[in-house]
């Protein structure tokens, strides 16, 4: 029985990280109907920005909550800047090109960031600075709750809470939702669509930055290709929950984390990735728009 609880804790942890990154995919898709493949690379750059930032301000010497938050801010700022650049130079010119061209551009940007990352940061894996010490908070029997587990869940919940508040309670949030419902009518209603899209990219990218720091602390190995696998899984989670729907991304992320953990724990670890995609295909065939997405009926 204790094994199960331990697996659930691991699963929730993994799921929280997937959810944070999935939110980035969902927000950009909501606004631009674009699968932002480059989002996984924004996450990677966030991790490296935190790495170099922590070394630059030698936060490693005195780890603790203050330097943890400084690293978080560094990563969020770096990711937002990168997100803005991608939107400005790669996606804005493509605004009214056919959907497939947007997808190819997104893949192009993702490949570009991967390979230039290997050149700039070097291909060898680096060690993420330990800005926060990990220790067992409390444990009963075999089960252990560590500081990192709590921080990850805590920071993820705070970030999602803020996002939820921002999207549903503030004016800009309403504008973002308007743009995601209908691009043209939002422009007619006097919403500065470019600004809204930039804000969406900033929000999505900073969430990826938070995810990067959390992953960096828990799994302190970073390399230029770290974004690929976790990005694909977070994207699958976003689609699972219903691409374009915020709650869907969070639920999808948590579900993905838990299910992956359970498959590895009780079935066989070899089929872990196959599970992720098998689940995705099953859900999409049963409910094409994902768990929370609303089916868009094509009007004749």
């Amino acid at each position: 029985m204790e094994e199960l609880v331990q697996h659930i804790i691991n699963g929730l942890n993994l799921g929280a990280i997937y959810a944070l990154i999935a939110l980035g995919y969902t927000m950009v898709y909501g606004v631009l109907q674009l699968i932002n493949f480059a989002h996984s690379e924004v996450y990677m750059v966030g991790a490296f920005a935190a790495y170099y930032g922590a070394l630059r301000f030698n936060l490693v010497e005195h780890p603790g909550w203050s330097s943890f938050f400084v690293t978080l801010v560094i990563a969020m700022v770096a990711c937002s800047i990168l997100g803005l650049c991608i939107e400005r130079f790669a996606y804005r010119p493509m605004r009214n090109a056919p959907r497939i061209n947007n997808l190819i551009t997104a893949i192009g940007v993702s490949l570009f960031l991967q390979f230039s990352g290997q050149l700039v940061f070097g291909a060898d894996p680096k060690v993420f600075p330990e800005v926060l010490h990990d220790s067992v908070l409390f444990s009963f029997g075999e089960i252990q709750i560590r500081i990192f587990d709590v921080t990850i869940l805590g920071v993820a919940l705070v970030a999602m809470g803020f996002l939820n508040y921002f999207i549903h309670k503030t004016k800009t949030g309403m504008a973002i939702r308007a743009v995601s419902f209908s691009f043209r009518s939002a422009t007619l209603m006097g919403i500065n669509v470019n600004a809204i899209i930039m804000i969406t990219f900033v929000l999505g990218s900073s969430l990826a930055g938070i995810g990067a720091v959390l992953v960096g602390l828990k799994y302190p190995k970073i390399d230029p290709l770290m974004g690929m696998l976790i990005g694909l899984k977070a994207f699958v989670a976003a689609v699972l929950g219903g691409i374009g729907n915020l709650t869907g991304a969070v639920v999808g992320g948590l579900m993905m984390g838990l299910l992956e953990e359970m498959v590895v724990a009780y079935i066989s670890s070899t089929y872990r990735d196959a599970l992720a995609f098998g689940l995705l295909i099953f859900i999409l065939l049963v409910k094409p728009s994902g768990l929370f997405g609303q089916t868009r009926v094509e009007k004749v």
Binding site: H7, P125, Y219, S269
Partner: protein, 400 residues
């Protein structure tokens, strides 16, 4: 349908134009590439430099392995060039990237041999890419020395394929003998990397030997290169309560695995293979890898002055500590150049003959003798991780 000759003719030449138009770029490119680097075989003697090809994955998933090997090779070659090269000729290393893809490795080796006219090949770290390239090297009779492919089948491709590292059937049992004789272990778990043939090979040979020595494999789990979370597999291993966990993988994953082993409160001893050898192992693993054992080509503490000289030169040139792959690359280049020095002339056939006769060559990774299967028979070092250093424990030779 009356036969309209003119229309027929027009349609016919349209089709010709259609295909020629599609193939124009091919003709253009190949033409230009062909005559801007015409390297014919006979000109080996006349060409001013000795060309050695190094095919490696400089980008893609295993870029850091390819790059370390390349640094090791260039260190050895630059040192030799300072002493006037070989037979008065400067040695040039042509490194081509195969992005970690087997089919690219095959194409790149063909380029190095037939277009650049290399007289010898160094490469590849991973057995899958060595196996993809070996048939080509054998077909054109260009000697190929692999620094660290441990799959036994690589050298069985042909008599022009050599390696300077031991093979899985040797390294796996060495660790198994160490575990059962030295550490007196009975219950061991295995965690292997599904996507790497190096890991699968080592795990299988370790398992068969360990069981034959009366040991028991209590749990066998696997993961994939690039994974970061191993809690699921490790929780299952914890349930099997092993005395030790054998993790035949590269240091890139082992550091993280070790941390999570300790986080889950598993006290088992950690064991591994030559893939662990890198200063980054301790950087990532911190105290989780303290006291872990792994088999390796050499120990950075080994008294042999060739090893110490290698470490000193490497630190001087690249300002970072070398890892096992760099040491293997260094030795592969040294052995190849040693064979070139002994060869009558720089003909690949001659070099192949000399390579086969390499006897007890003292390299950075210990004394290497190329046996008749063209593998390196050498001692395996068992080392223990102690802070940043890998403390020398013992040396185990082949089964006596």
């Amino acid at each position: 349908m009356q036969l309209d000759l003119l229309n027929l003719l027009k349609r016919f030449c349209n089709c010709i134009f259609y295909f020629v138009r599609a193939l124009l770029p091919v003709v253009l490119l190949s033409g230009c590439v062909k005559n801007c680097s015409p390297k014919q075989r006979e000109s080996f003697q006349s060409s001013p430099e000795i060309l050695i090809g190094h095919f490696a994955s400089m980008t893609g998933g295993e870029a850091s392995f390819g790059q370390s090997t390349d640094k090791g090779i260039r260190l050895a070659v630059d040192a030799q060039n300072v002493e006037g090269g070989i037979k008065g000729k400067k040695i040039v290393i042509l490194t081509e990237d195969n992005q970690g893809k087997p089919e690219e490795a095959a194409a790149v080796v063909k380029k190095l041999i037939t277009q650049d006219g290399v007289i010898a090949l160094l490469g590849e770290v991973a057995s899958t890419r060595s196996l993809a390239a070996a048939p080509t090297a054998q077909k054109y009779q260009i000697p190929m020395v692999s620094p660290s492919s441990t799959n036994p089948r690589v050298t069985q491709v042909g008599d022009y394929i050599f390696r300077v590292c031991f093979i899985d059937p040797f390294q796996g049992p060495v660790m198994a003998r160490f575990a059962s004789h030295f550490l007196k272990l009975k219950k061991v778990a295995i965690l292997k990397d599904l996507k790497s043939d190096y890991s699968l090979g080592l795990a299988d040979f370790f398992k068969s030997k360990f069981i034959s020595l009366g040991g028991e494999i209590v749990s066998e789990q696997s993961f994939q290169t690039g994974d970061t979370d191993f809690k699921g597999q490790l929780t299952r291993i914890r349930a099997a309560d092993p005395e030790a966990i054998f993790i035949p993988a590269y240091y890139t994953e082992v550091g993280l695995i070790a941390r999570q082993v300790r986080q889950l409160g598993i006290k088992a001893i950690l064991m591994g293979g030559d893939g662990w050898d890198s200063p980054k192992l301790y950087e990532i693993g911190k105290d989780a890898v303290e006291g872990a054992y792994f088999s390796n080509h050499y120990s950075s503490e080994s008294p042999s002055e060739v090893t110490q000289k290698f470490i000193k030169d490497y630190m001087a040139k690249y300002k970072e500590e070398p890892d096992g792959l760099a040491a293997s690359g260094y030795d592969a280049a040294l052995i190849l150049m040693d064979a070139m020095k002994r060869a009558k002339d720089l003909d690949p056939k001659e070099i192949q003959v000399q390579l086969a006769q390499t006897k007890s060559f003292v390299g950075a990774t210990g004394t290497i003798t190329i046996n008749n299967e063209r593998n390196a028979s050498k001692e395996a070092f068992i080392v223990q991780v102690h802070q940043k250093t890998h403390k020398f424990i013992t040396q185990l030779g082949a089964e006596n």
